[in-house]
Point group: D2
């Protein structure tokens, strides 16, 4: 059976596996203090065009979001996100578990509007009772968003300017960053992300790693005693080398970008095929998530041949479904999918 259900279904990019083998019995120190982590950090700094960036490796997205928000805010501060932001919906309350409120703004196809952000921030300080309210302490966006959409450079600049005005960090969740950077038509590069946000993470789990996210501090210093807080949150990895090795490989010879490109190329072919067959798109996503409207009948028919996600009910007869391509998607599987659509 075909599967287009998600981008974390396979193992790991073969280049990484090879590297794990080659270095397997070499002894290193633990807790991410090893040479592989340092080398990976250095390569990421270079790729970001910021030699002073702080780089830290963590294992997963929720863990990274929780740690960034919890350690960059004061206990009385919350995080601003859209109502559809991952931190507001699918993290089982991890942000609140660590004591912080998610202050919500409307979602515009997954994106936050800089004007609405400014109104929220201005409104907080204008309120007579602001001392009885949660202070906005950090802004969370994702790129690509949960709906696969992308910010333009101008939009990032606007959000960044508002954050700078209110002296709070702009944090970008890059769980699928590799796919966003390789999307056709985007004017946002990795260097732009590094310049236009204060802290962000480069997603590994969904872009070819076994697991792992590279957290990068550019416009904001890494919190003091970050190591201790990572440990305190149960997020420290004894054999940190595995994280270092993976990102060192991903940032050698542009592997990260090549993996991203595969997902974009296969997604483009799939979209083309869908258009040819007359399907309409639920959301026009430029990345590796494709949202299509299908009849309920068609949906049932497809379920026998391919694994995909249910996204939402449109009306009595129609449903929105999602196909996802990835670093590992084979073009032949896409062609097969198009055939049966």
């Amino acid at each position: 059976m075909l599967s287009f259900i998600n981008d974390y279904c396979e193992g790991v990019a073969p280049e990484i596996l090879k590297r794990l083998e080659e270095t397997n019995l070499i002894k290193t120190v633990g807790y991410g203090m090893d040479e592989y982590c340092e080398s990976a950090a250095e390569k990421i700094r270079t790729a970001c065009g910021n030699e002073d960036a702080g780089v830290y490796f963590l294992t997963g997205g929720t863990q990274t979001n929780m740690l960034v928000i919890d350690t960059l805010t004061k206990p009385y501060e919350g995080v601003v996100a859209t109502v559809e932001g991952h931190v507001n919906t699918h993290e089982a309350g991890a942000i609140e578990y660590s004591g912080h409120k998610v202050l919500t703004l409307p979602s515009h196809e997954g994106k936050m509007d800089a004007k609405e952000l400014k109104e929220l921030l201005a409104g907080y300080y204008a309120d007579d009772n602001y001392e009885h309210m949660v202070a906005p302490g950090i802004v969370y966006i994702s790129h690509p968003t949960e709906l696969g959409t992308l910010y333009s450079k101008a939009e990032l600049q606007d959000l960044h300017a508002v954050c700078a005005e209110y002296k709070i960090p702009l944090y970008l969740d890059g769980a699928r960053l590799g796919y966003g950077l390789m999307a056709e038509g985007t004017d946002v590069t990795l260097e732009d992300v590094a310049k236009l946000t204060d802290v962000f993470y480069i997603g590994g789990t969904k872009v070819g790693a076994l697991f792992g996210e590279a957290l990068v501090f550019t416009g904001w210093p890494m919190p003091y005693r970050f190591n201790t807080m990572v440990k305190q949150h149960g997020a420290m990895v004894a054999k940190g080398r595995i994280l270092g090795l993976q990102f060192d490989t991903l940032f050698t010879d542009g592997l990260y970008f090549k993996l991203g490109e595969n997902a974009i190329r296969t997604a483009a072919r799939l979209k083309e095929g869908l258009k040819e067959k007359g399907y309409t798109f639920f959301i026009d996503s430029p990345t590796n998530q494709i949202f299509v409207t299908v009849t309920n009948e068609k949906k049932k028919e497809l379920e026998d041949k391919v694994v995909f996600s249910f996204w939402g009910n449109i009306d009595e007869d129609h449903t929105a479904i999602r196909f996802v391509t990835s670093w590992a998607t084979k073009m032949e599987d896409v062609e097969e999918l198009i055939r049966i659509l």
Copy 2:
């Protein structure tokens, strides 16, 4: 340079690496719902002699300790541990971060005394002010302990009986369980651990895995909505298959025990060598951690040739140091170490 600094210096058992390669491009569902996890859980149930055991895979020790204690206790309960217990010393306050106090008992070469435990529990309920105090809600021990020592079966039975009397779970931290089970002279088997504790974890990180701990619930049910709480603590792994694959391999053909045995065999040779050379032991540990008293002069001399841990100052002229063997230790390195001692 030789290194006997710890048991998480190398990568992973070659058998596991091979398995990762073989299965790399097979697609599975995420979050530990895949067939490798299920197979691993089944093999662990069999090895534990308990077909009803709940098995869950997590990435590290602090994370596992935090989750077990936080989810098996009520918000007003704390965990009883010895003053040297890992949860009381080297977890950066992860237990308190999740809201629970560590109630301490004396350490007897790392071990908890059942009588002292009973006194603490009885004392709590006898106190007129017990409503103003932290209720003891779970008991934490490690096996091997932080000092490499082991409980006897009788000692475990006594602790378990006290816990049963007070209706609180006995939790065993098995970060180095493989080494404990293979120690010479121990009368405690994996089946005993499963019977004489309520929940415990089988350490992978220090016994041949890339990372990973297998949490096993035998005498106590897995907490309701454990998955949600794992996610909420930032501990869920998208590609859970990697954890499943590792433990499935570790529990195939007794690999876990073979890996444990290598550390014990090399440690035994090292102890023999140390004895022959007239060294005295700081603690008589039957497992893979060896604590020796050396003169400060000798310590300085050794530091040029081998990496080891400083353990504590004995007197003005003497220091306790620690050597650790592991699943990956080569006998030739031990012989070389003995030569230079």
Copy 3:
């Protein structure tokens, strides 16, 4: 200068002060175990028509909301409230500080709609990913609401039925309950509140007490070791007698209702005066909060003579303001206010 800014501007009902004097040097045990607390609890049980109700005295509203939500929910559960609910807006993140998310529904003049609640609850359980989401664990409403509006008996019945269906408690914040119960035209009595919610609090701070809220458990048991959790949250009062004495007095000879009635009577006269003068109401509140639309010019003029609250900008020329009456409001002050309006 006149003041209609809030209902906690004066000290305490004279009947309570007298009682404090009479009993001042009598010795009692501490922590709310005294006879005054027991007597007050008994009178509240009678007034609620529920002899099995659990009654507990706390000092303030935020403290009570935080404790109820934190102790009646599991760590992975959140509280459902309207976007305007006090727990979502003006409690400085106390709910999130204690680890719980506020799951929001639209506000209909401050009120929650039973249908929308049902959709939220049903939607949670219907979601494939519900294990990655915050579970709805309790429902929070206030009566009167933050906008001074009231639920009808039928509306409470509907909300209660939905909660019962999903087996989660309905919690009613009665910070201004006395004013709600005495409002003209309401069909909700204290006995109804006790029957149609699972837990609620009778507000003292805003209805004639120095401070204090009486928390009442009717449809749900008081959490086990509630005392310990009260202490743990820093909410226990050593001289609990003061809370007992106040509520014992408030529930003697219907004082609580008489105090409520004064606020309603003076508010009614104020509304009459406002209508006569041609003012339009921003919200039609039947209780002691009166929301009026005024020109900005008039607002400025009034500010020299009376203290009131700014509520919001309507348009360029108009503003919504709020006047509040209370248990202590003198009719002569209302007449004076009407004169200058």
Copy 4:
């Protein structure tokens, strides 16, 4: 029946009650922004000899301890206290609930030793693994201690010097400060406390107030947005005036010290009587708590005539019991107690 069980058995000093009456219907703003709070703060600043001190009023001891420790420390820091410190024993885990570990030192009749404190702090920074440990972030002492003993000025100077060296605040819990300051033979004044600690609180609940503690920041700034964090912890009092009025009265004409003196004078007479009757003291406390060793027989006999506390078993035949005098203790009751001893 006589009662010497505690110092929070009666209501409030009559001078305060009178003041509550006189000001009862005066309208003030809420949340401690009123003139009574400001006047009280000013009087406390003067009494402390520090015109720049930050003063804040809270309702109880556990609440104050929790807030001070939680807001003056970083999330990865803990509080150093003796094993007998109130924060380590009788606060139901409030400190851990707010995320912080209590790092313990031995208790010397309730007191902390400056040398041992220095060793703990130096040891932390000397440890190779300090990043995996809880950082000591504040030091907690009480004066009088839980055993009624007092620090000398020299001892406070030593503790303060160690804290200054390590740049962490010294916090003094003054739940019974009034009794400590009036003890015979003490060389510590309120001005000394203000100089030799960084933050402390002047206990009202046990020294004549209905409830309330005055928190004073002298050597350390009040945390930014303290108001918000007070609200977030559920500790804000709407009618803050009641706290202001009480402390304004306590610090008018030396009332606080007179109330303290009554307890000391009656305790002195009781000790004299006990000595005359040949009793031996379990601890030699110079304040209002008197710890006596009695035969079990005598204890049983006394229980029919006087209420006191059981303190601990000495041997098979003897028990330590505690008598407490207070601001409200009548000398005639002491004489009566002596008669029946």
